[in-house]
Structures are given as C-alpha cells and as structure tokens.
C-alpha cells in the first residue's frame, strides 16, 4: 500500500536523522553567558584569542541582575561554561554549589582589595572581576550652573530654593530602596552588616537601626517632607531630563539615556551630612565558572589568557561606561571622563555584601523604605521594625 511505502521511507529518513545527531557542543568551543546588550563587546574582545587557538567562543546574552538561573540550570547540565554575574550573588552561588573555586586562577595582584573581597567567600576566590559599577550623583548643569555640590548643606539649600521657587518638583530623583539610598543611609550612621577588612561574614550584627541611625532618623523625615526625595517613589527619570529636578542618582547604565536627552550634567561623589563622602554600594561584575561545565580545560584557558587581561577589562567597560576592575586597565582611564568620575567615587564605595543572607536583607530593607515613602511610618520606626524582623529571620534573636 502507498501508505506503507511512505511509512518505510519515513523510517529511513528518521534513521538518517538520528544517526547524524551530534553531541550538543562540538569539541573546541566554550559557551559564555553575558549580560543582555553586551554580546558585541565580549565577542570583539574574544575574537583574537579565538582565531589564535581555533576555539569557538559562543557568547549568549542570558544574564541580568541575578544569577542567570544557574542554581537550577547548572546541576541539570543545561548551563554554560562561564557566565557573568554581579558579585553579590557569590554567596548564594557558592551555597548552591554551582560554581568552581577559581583561587588558583585569580591573580590577586591585578585587582584592588575591595574588588577582591567582593568575589571572596569562605576564603576562596570564585570569580574573575571585570568591571566595577556604582551609582553617583548627577547634577543638572542647566538648573545648577555652579556645578556639583561639595557639601550636603550646599545640596540641600540648592534643592530647597529651587523647589520653593517652583523651578523644580523634587530635589534628588532616585529609587527609594536600599541600594540607591545606601549613601544617605550610610551618612546617618546605618549599615547592613559590619564590614571587617572587606569581608561581611559577621551576619549576627545588623545595623539597620544602629544607635547613630536612631539619633539621625528624623533627618530623613525632614528631607522627605521638604521634597528632597520624591515620596511617590516612581523614579520618574523625566523629572531630571526635563529639568524639573537638580540632582539624580545615576549609574553607568543611565548615561546613554542622559546623553540622548541632550542634557548637560556633571557626575560627582555624594556628599555626606557630616562632611566627607557618603559611601554607596559598589558592584563588581565577575566571570564565574560553572562547576558542571562541559569544557573545563578550555574555559580555564580562556579565563587565564583572556578574561584576566587588562585589555579585556578595558574593552568591556569601555562599551558599558563602567570602571575597569583590573588595576592596570583602570590606570589608563581618563579621570575627567564619565567613567573616570564614576571610578573616582567608586574607590571610596563599599562593595555590596556577597553573603546569601542579603536576599532577606533586601526584602525587609526595601519594605521599610516603601513604608517610609508612602507615609505609613516614620523612618526610624520603619527601620526599627525592619531590623527586628530581619534579626528574627536570620536567627539572630
């Protein structure tokens, strides 16, 4: 019957198909997952090595803020060989058991100690740092011709006078959450975990409601009332680009938007209320190796020969406006450029804690900020209850 003939033909074709089923990755290739939008710079930076060694480097854009889904994909064998992530994921990545220690690969002398502490967990290094990014203060030069404020008093008086004269809606355009508000939190004496020589392993002491913060908490309420912070908490960036706000907290990712709006701005460090500089969180972008990688030798070779090089760090950071983590690459950045200004401020910033307890910290901390912004609680009360709940959740009390 015609059907049977066709059936046999189908069988033959299928057998041919299955016979040619090659394994998923051909020998001589590695797969690297990078942040969305950055494939081009990674491909360009790997091209020379790839041509020299004949190893195909597959760059795929699959990562974002978190851990690229590695905690589930890695053990299942569906992960890449290398992937990029922000250093604050180090603790949870190590605890999930999905990354390999790179202590024998990292050249410690190439990176500043703050950067190294970001990727250090349990006395071992787990990632190769590439870039350092932090937020900084952007001043709208059309509204504030005098330039960036050197003291907090200057910032406060400029903002309030502009608001009262109706020229501005709000003083500083920013998200009202832990990450963005950290410099102000820090300047009134609050902290998350004690930073001892760059390591945050002491999670028994939570500083969300430290003595110093309790004393100064009312200042935050005053500033909210004076509209220095926007209590609608919507981060309406257009307030800044339309000239309705003199200051904004921006990261390297915002620069493209500011340039597109044609703004004249200046990047500077954030002044602290007690004089000096308030310390924001710095984030280190690092390349991690999947414990269940299919091409461990080649991936290691790529790390040693490409990712650790100053040229690589420089190339990647040039494309996304962040500051190189590699000391040699950083020394060639022009201090007056945007990246240079971010980096200069970043040098005094503290790295985000990389312990996995940070997940719970963000929950309670951000909720406290939301309660304070919506007017449900005063700053001191919100932080006190967050501190209590966090201590309970961490098992400290």
């Amino acid at each position: 019957m015609k059907l049977h003939r066709l059936g046999v033909g189908l069988l033959g074709v299928s057998l041919a198909f299955f016979g040619s089923m090659a394994p998923a990755q051909a020998a001589g290739s590695i797969t690297v997952w990078v942040n969305s939008g950055e494939e081009a710079s990674y491909k360009a930076a790997s091209a020379a090595w790839s041509a020299k060694t004949g190893v195909t480097v597959n760059i795929v854009a699959k990562c974002g803020l978190g851990d690229c889904g590695m905690s589930k994909l890695g053990p299942a064998g569906a992960g890449p060989d290398l992937f990029t992530a922000s250093h604050d994921n180090t603790g949870s990545l190590v605890k999930s058991g999905v990354v390999t220690s790179l202590s024998s690969v990292v050249k410690k002398a190439s990176y500043p100690s703050a950067v190294l502490s970001g990727i250090t967990f349990n006395y071992q290094q787990w990632g190769i740092p590439i870039a350092v990014s932090n937020i900084a203060l952007a001043t709208n030069l059309s509204l504030v011709p005098a330039g960036a404020p050197k003291t907090w008093k200057e910032l406060e008086s400029t903002a309030t006078s502009l608001i009262s004269s109706g020229k501005a809606n709000v003083g500083i355009v920013t998200h009202l959450d832990g990450y963005f508000m950290q410099p102000f939190f820090d300047s009134i004496g609050g902290y998350v975990f004690q930073n001892k020589n760059g390591s945050y392993t002491n999670t028994k002491q939570v500083g969300l409601y430290s003595k110093s913060l309790a004393k100064n908490a009312s200042l935050m309420d005053t500033w909210l009332q004076k509209k220095i912070f926007d209590k609608s908490n919507t981060y309406d960036g257009s307030n800044f680009t339309n000239g309705k706000a003199p200051y904004s907290l921006v990261g390297p990712w915002s620069i493209a938007g500011l340039d597109k709006a044609g703004m004249k701005y200046e990047i500077s460090s954030i002044p602290s209320i007690n004089g000096g500089t308030a310390r924001s969180f710095s984030g280190v972008t690092a390349v991690y190796m999947n414990r269940y990688a299919k091409n461990k030798f080649l991936a290691k070779q790529y790390l040693v020969e490409v990712v650790q090089s100053a040229a690589f760090s420089k190339a990647i950071t040039a494309a996304n406006n962040s500051y190189p983590a590699n000391i040699e690459a950083a020394s060639s950045i022009d201090p007056s450029s945007v990246a240079g200004k971010f980096g200069a401020y970043g040098a005094v910033c503290i790295p985000m804690p990389n312990v996995s307890e940070m997940n719970q910290v963000w929950t309670y901390w951000n909720n406290a900020f939301a309660d304070w912004a919506s007017g449900k609680a005063k700053f001191g009360a919100a932080m006190e209850s967050a501190s209590k709940n966090l201590n309970k959740a961490l098992g400290n009390s």
């Binding site: 053990p75 605890k95 609608s232 030798f297 996995s356 909720n367």
Partner: protein
C-alpha cells in the same frame, strides 16, 4: 495538476513532517534524560501515525490532538508539581546527594605546592576501553588509576624515558597528545584519591593539580569528616549535612521531605500569617468581581433593551473596547494612571489618594480595573440571555398585569441567571486565578512588612505562589510553591464543582 493529488500529497507531506518533528524531539529529550517526555513524544508520534492513516472517520481523529495536549500541558505538569511538592526543591537544594557531597569535598581542597608540576599520561585499557591516568608522585613507582580503582605499577625500566615518560605498559595503549585531546570529556571530571587523602585532578591535558581536601566522605557510614577539626557531619532530613553542634554545610541536595511542605502551611507562622490574608482576599476579589461585573453588565443590557435608545452601535463599540485591548497593555497603562499625586486619576479629580501604596486603596484600584476589563463580557452574555427570552412570555406577563419591576424580578432575572450560570461559575474559577491583573497592576500590592514571602495586600494565592517560586530573593522555594499550587487547584476545583452542582438544581426553574 490534479487538485486532488496535490491536496492528498501535501496532506501526507504535512502529516509525515509533523511525525518526524515529534520523533526528533523525542530523541533529543531522550538524550537529555527526560524519560517521560521522550516516551510521550514517541507514543504520540505512533498514535498520530496510526489514527490518521486509517481512512474511515473515527472519533479518535477528533479527540486525539485534544487528549495529547491535555496530557502534555495539564496532566503531566499537575503530577510533576505534585511530585515536587514532596521535596525541598529550592535554592541550595538543587543537586543530587552525590553531587552535593562531591561539591563540598571539592571546595574544601587545600592545594599542595609541588616543586615541579606533576605530569600525567593518558592510557586506554585494552579490554574495557576505560580511560586511565599514569603519573608519578613521591615514590619510585607509578600510580595508575581511572578515578575508581588505583594501583601502583612499576614499568620495565627499559620502557621509561629519561624525563620519566613511559612508552609501554602491558595491557594498555598509551595515547598521543591528539588522542588525549579526544578524551577531554572524561579527563575533565576525573578525580583520583590516594588512601592518604591526597587528591589529584587533571587541570589541563598534561598536568595534575595536587591537593588535600579538608573533608573526607565515608560512604559506608554516610558521614563527612573534617580532617582538620575532626568534626563529623551526617545528613539531616532536609537534604543537608549537619554536625552534632548544628553547623550546616552547603550545598545541600534535593531530598524527599514527605508532607512537610503541606504541614508547614498550617504550622509555620511565617507562612500561615500572610497566607490567611491572601486566601481571604482571593475569595473576596473573585466573588466581588463576578457579582459586581454581572450586575453592571445586566443593568447595561437592560438599558440597551429599550427600543427608544439611540446610537446603540456607538455605545456597543465603546463597551467592547476594554475587552478588545490586550489586557497586558491596558493593565500596565492603568498602573501608570493610578500613580499617587502625579498620576492622571489623581490629577483629573484633584484628589490625593495613595492608590497603589495603601493596602485598601490598592484593593479598590485592582477591583476597578478588573471590573473595567470584565464588564463588557458580562454585558455581552446578559444581552444574549435577555434577547433569548421568548417575547411571548413577556407579553403574557404584561397581559396578566405584571408591572415592569415584577416582570423583571419574576421572569427576566431567573431566566437570565439560569442561562448564564455556567459562565458565572467559569468566571469565578478564572477570577480566583486572575494572575495577570494582580501581578501587572500592583505586583501583589503593598507588601505586608512582616511577611517572609513578600506577600502583599492585593496578592491572590496564585501570585503569592509565583513569587515564592520565582522570586530568587526568597530562595526559589519550588517545593512550597508546588504544594500551594496543589492547594490552589483543590480550592478552584471544589468551588467549580459546587457551583456546577448548584446550577443543576436551577434547571428546575421554568
């Protein structure tokens, strides 16, 4: 060309191409060790081939695609979720026990510095074709191991070169550098352990990394021993290694924890407290939505029934718009409109309501938007129901002297309700799981400040479950989320069954 032949030929082509795709997918799944799905695809291909090659028409030809899709997208995920609900699947518990122990041991390696790098050679055992590694370390003899067994060998001095390379070992083939390259997959994962505890691992194609892991695993006793501190760790019932003093080692593994996920819903205060509030709001939201939207739709349908109303087409078009716009878009726009103070709603009415940041106002906002999206549907079905009422009944009622109000409550309303009752039951079932409206509008609403799983004032059970599973800040607790989704299924199922049963009694109204 003969149309019949072309259509028949293309039909065959399409059918066989489809079956081929199923077989290819099945093989890929088989390679990825997804057993059930692989078998499912093979069986589907066979069933499709068999069913559609029969020339006469059978019910199976109509039922088969639906049954296959039902199995794949409903029955399989339901049972899979059920299986996951009995495990502690979450962040830090994704590995198998062997993987977890291997990871702990590997991470505890203390590197041993050697004067010169330890070189190795790759061999293949002639009978079994297994890959072996030959190297020399602190002894005159060579070590030969495939990662499992290790033995000491002393090759014939005449087959050893000056630099220590061996050129001949009895029963083995020594590989050249190119042949070694082909064995990369095996070499990468090889770990060789001496009885003294020293561990060797190939770090490239020629040299071994020498280290001493601080942890040693005693498989017989199922315990990990820290050789530096002497502490011993045994598995607990949550897929982790713990010491007697309570120190927990990471990573853990996926373990079967029985009914603990289900019981924790009742016993764990951190889960029970927000869950109760979420459940109450889930029911309230669903019932209020269906009730109010039904009434709105009914009123509009009755108004439309007046023959005197002009420009009906215009009104009808406006009323259909909320249903016509993709709800994802309209929800995102609405969440912008509801912004406090600077949003359109607050500015338009000169009010200052903190819509999305105050728990009760957020609930009102959610209901308003859900009503806006649902009332056109209710309007349509009630219009249809009203128009389906035979005109003679209404005339008879009018002749009998019934007032318009009586005619409405005694005749129209019962008939309409009887007609749309199944749709209302379905609407309640859908409203209980109205994930999009909640998640896109408020993300679950202003969060309860004391909730562990980030539950909020407008969270319904399904959005709370989603956040537990996919909000990595909460530890991706897939196990608990699966248990909650089973609970969700039971709730929705029971309410639907009850509703349908109640409908049957309504059939008596005539």
């Amino acid at each position: 060309m003969n149309i019949k032949a072309v259509s028949k030929g293309s039909k065959y082509l399409f059918a066989f191409g489809f079956i081929l795709i199923l077989l290819v997918m099945g093989t890929k799944l088989y390679q990825d060790k997804a057993w059930f799905l692989a078998i499912f695809f093979y069986v589907s291909a066979a069933l499709i081939f068999y069913t559609y090659s029969i020339s006469k028409s059978t019910p199976a030809k109509y039922l088969l695609p639906g049954v296959l899709l039902l199995t794949l997208f409903h029955i399989y995920p339901a049972f899979y979720s059920g299986a996951v609900a009995f495990t502690n699947d979450s962040n830090g518990h994704q590995l198998t026990k062997d993987q977890a122990i291997a990871a702990i041991v590997q991470d505890s390696k203390i590197p041993i510095a050697t004067q010169e790098p330890v070189k190795y050679q790759t061999l293949i055992e002639e009978g079994s074709k297994k890959v072996f590694v030959l190297f020399k370390y602190e002894s005159e003899n060579y070590w030969l191991s495939d990662g499992n067994a290790i033995r000491s060998v002393s090759p014939d001095p005449r087959s050893v070169l000056v630099d220590g390379t061996v050129v001949k070992v009895g029963g083995f083939t020594i590989l050249s550098p190119d042949q070694t390259q082909a064995q990369i997959a095996v070499l990468q994962n090889l770990v060789i352990n001496l009885d003294s505890g020293i561990s060797f691992q190939p770090q490239d194609l020629e040299t071994l990394e020498v280290s001493q892991p601080a942890f040693m695993y005693n498989e017989a006793k199922d315990e990990l021993i820290n050789t530096l501190s002497g502490e011993s760790y045994e598995p607990n019932d949550n897929g982790q290694m713990v010491s007697k003093s309570g120190e927990v080692l990471y990573p853990g593994w996926k373990a079967n924890i029985g009914w603990r996920n289900f019981s924790s819903i009742i016993t764990d205060k951190e889960i029970r407290r927000p869950l109760l509030a979420v459940l109450v709001w889930t029911f309230a939201n669903a019932f209020l939505l269906v009730l109010i939207s039904f009434l709105m739709g009914l009123v509009l349908a009755l108004i439309f029934n007046f023959p005197a109303l002009r420009s009906k087409r215009f009104y009808r078009t406006i009323f259909i718009i909320p249903m016509a716009i993709p709800s994802v878009l309209s929800l995102l726009v609405w969440s912008g409109l509801f912004t406090a103070e600077t949003g359109v709603i607050d500015r338009l009415f000169h009010i200052s309501i903190p819509w999305l940041t105050h728990p009760w106002w957020a609930r009102v906002a959610v209901l308003i938007v859900e009503l806006w999206i649902t009332f056109p549907y209710m309007f349509l079905i009630t219009t249809g129901a009203i128009q389906a009422i035979p005109g003679e009944i209404l005339e008879a009622a009018a002749i009998d002297g019934a007032s318009p109000a009586k005619s409405f409550t005694q005749i129209k309303l019962p008939l309409v309700v009887r007609t749309v009752a199944p749709l209302l039951v379905a609407s309640v079932a859908m409203a209980l799981n109205n994930f999009g409206a909640i998640y896109l509008l408020t993300g679950g609403g202003p969060t309860f400040s004391n909730s562990n799983g980030n539950a909020g004032a407008t969270d319904i059970l399904i959005s709370y479950t989603y956040k537990l599973a996919f909000n990595s800040q909460e530890g991706n607790n897939y196990g608990l989320a699966s248990a909650l989704s089973i609970l969700n299924f039971l709730i929705v199922g029971l309410i639907s069954i009850y509703g349908l049963k109640k409908m049957k009694t309504m059939e008596g109204i005539n």
